[in-house]
Structure formats: structure tokens, C-alpha cells
């Protein structure tokens, strides 16, 4: 099944895009023509399906309201994607604003000492990613570890490691510098690694599973 298609937006079916409010243009047709491709694009950047669907709807509504602004230089589909990108960035900005109060990044445990050494050495994991991913327990732990990340780290991680967005695009979406993004990704990955280790690999080690665990 196709999922996060890379750049899923195809050409408009017929040569010229349906715009400029010409007679006979029904914006509802856009839903059939572009809806799925826009949704695939959004799902590569926003994990929650309802949110992605809302963003697609907002995009099409905005496109209709601003249809005179489409100058025909780019493909219509490309223009829609540019609107969608802005909607996605708006979404993350709103998301971050509601989160700042509740989540203080400083509260996240720092896995390194002030001198930059590991507080607790990583254990040895023995696991095959493909096999892990199929396991219900791993899926459960992974999902909850991601949810537990401080939101700013989680946003960066989801966009980068689970989504389709490039670092440059993520910096724009989150409105942070590439350096700041690199720091957030580092923290997110270190915290996540630690969470998986204590909630999954640690237990695996204690029950001495033949497939995984420390040695």
C-alpha cells in the first residue's frame, strides 16, 4: 500500500488548472483531483490523521478564496502544496504555543553530566529492526516513549525521523535555526533511546529473551 509518497502531487489531469473563477469551475472537484495527494503530503508531516485532513480542507478553502492569486506560472498542484506547507507551519506554531506552558524542556532529564559524560552507560542491544517493528510490545512502548518526549523535541523528531520533511523544511515549519533543530533532534533521540532501553530492552534483558537483550 502506498503511504508517505515522496512528492505525491501529480499533474492536474487536464492541461490548464481550474482557476481564476472561470464559469463552470466547481471547487468541489478539487477534492477528488488533489485531495488524496495533499493528504499524503500532510500525513508525511503531521502524524494525526484528523489534523492532516483538517489541514487539507483548510488548504482547499484558502485556495478557492485566493484563487485569483494563482498566476499559472507554477503547476496548480504545486501552488496547492505551497499553501499546505504554510498551513502545516501554522499548525506547528499553534501546537508549540499551547505546549510551552505545560512542558519545560529543562525538566527533561539530561542524560549527560555537566562535564558531558554519560550518566548511565548505554547497554548492549541485540535486535533486528524489522523483527522489532512487528512486535506488538515494541510498538506499544515506542508509541508511548514518543508521546512522552517533551513536545518541542517530539515535534522535531516526528517531522524528521518519522516524516518526509527535510531539515531545511522543518526549520521553516518550527521557525527555528538549523542549529537549534540539530540540538532538539539530538535531545529527542537520546531521550528516546533511553526510554526504549529502560522500558523495553531492560525488561528483555531481565527475562533473558533469546532474541534481544543485554549481554
Amino acid at each position: 500500500m502506498p503511504k508517505n509518497v515522496k512528492i505525491p502531487i501529480g499533474e492536474p489531469p487536464t492541461g490548464d488548472p481550474p482557476t481564476n473563477g472561470q464559469h463552470g469551475v466547481d471547487p468541489a472537484d478539487w477534492v477528488d483531483q488533489y485531495g488524496d495527494a495533499l493528504l499524503a503530503f500532510a500525513l508525511g508531516r503531521v502524524r494525526k490523521r484528523e489534523v492532516a485532513e483538517d489541514l487539507v480542507q483548510d488548504t482547499l478553502l484558502a485556495a478557492w478564496v485566493n484563487r485569483e492569486r494563482f498566476d499559472g506560472r507554477a503547476k496548480f498542484a504545486t501552488w496547492l502544496v505551497s499553501i499546505l506547507r504554510r498551513k502545516i507551519a501554522d499548525h506547528y506554531r499553534r501546537d508549540a504555543r499551547t505546549l510551552t506552558a505545560s512542558s519545560l524542556e529543562e525538566n527533561a532529564p539530561d542524560p549527560f553530566t555537566p562535564k558531558g559524560m554519560w550518566r548511565r552507560a548505554p547497554w548492549k542491544w541485540k535486535a533486528d529492526p524489522a523483527q522489532l517493528a512487528e512486535e506488538a510490545e515494541f510498538q506499544r512502548v515506542a508509541t508511548s516513549c514518543i508521546e512522552e518526549l517533551p513536545p518541542h523535541f517530539r515535534q522535531a523528531f516526528q517531522l524528521r525521523d518519522l516524516g518526509d520533511a527535510s531539515p531545511k523544511e522543518i526549520s521553516v515549519i518550527l521557525n527555528i535555526s538549523p542549529e537549534n533543530l540539530a540540538v532538539r533532534l539530538h535531545r529527542a533521540r537520546v531521550l528516546l533511546r533511553q526510554c526504549l532501553e529502560s522500558k523495553y530492552f531492560g525488561l528483555a534483558a531481565r527475562t533473558a529473551s533469546p532474541h534481544r537483550g543485554s549481554s
Binding site: M1, V31, E53, Q57, M117
Partner: protein, 87 residues
């Protein structure tokens, strides 16, 4: 000023992480290689990081496959309805 031959584990893991976003500079690559040669903790981290990304991407893909990127008929109709309100 003291010249540090070894970077800290924090710095080394930052570079391990950065590798997934950008190409390291020649100097960074060298410093990281020296650190990893001497530090088994960060060596484990580097391997786990790659493994973790792989596994988590697979989980995300499995979850995405269970709900394909297609608008449901209901949602499709709801969107059309919203759009027609504007015409």
C-alpha cells in the same frame, strides 16, 4: 588555552545525531572517529541510533499502512460541502 584532544560524549553523540541531517566537516569526522575508537559507550549509541530510527520508521509505516492516505468518502463529501458554501 588547552587544546582538547577528546570531545565529550555529549559532543560526540551530537555529531552522531547530526550525521543524519548533514555531512560532517572533515574535522568533525576525524574528531568523531577518534572518540568512537576510544569510547565504547558512544559506539553503542551510534549503532543504536541507526537501529532505533530504522525500527521506529518501520513502526510508523506499519501504522500508516493501516490507514492509507486516502480521504474517506464521508470526509470527501464534507469537504465538498464546505467548499460549495463559498461559491
Amino acid at each position: 588555552m588547552k587544546v582538547r584532544l577528546m570531545m565529550t560524549c555529549r559532543e560526540a553523540t551530537q555529531l552522531c545525531s547530526d550525521q543524519h541531517e548533514r555531512t560532517l566537516t572533515r574535522r568533525e569526522r576525524w574528531m568523531l572517529r577518534v572518540h568512537l575508537f576510544l569510547c565504547h559507550k558512544c559506539r553503542k549509541f551510534a549503532a543504536q541510533l541507526a537501529m532505533m530510527r530504522d525500527a521506529l520508521q518501520r513502526v510508523a509505516n506499519l501504522q500508516a499502512d493501516s490507514s492509507p492516505a486516502k480521504l474517506s468518502p464521508e470526509r470527501r463529501e464534507a469537504m465538498k460541502h464546505e467548499l460549495r458554501k463559498l461559491v
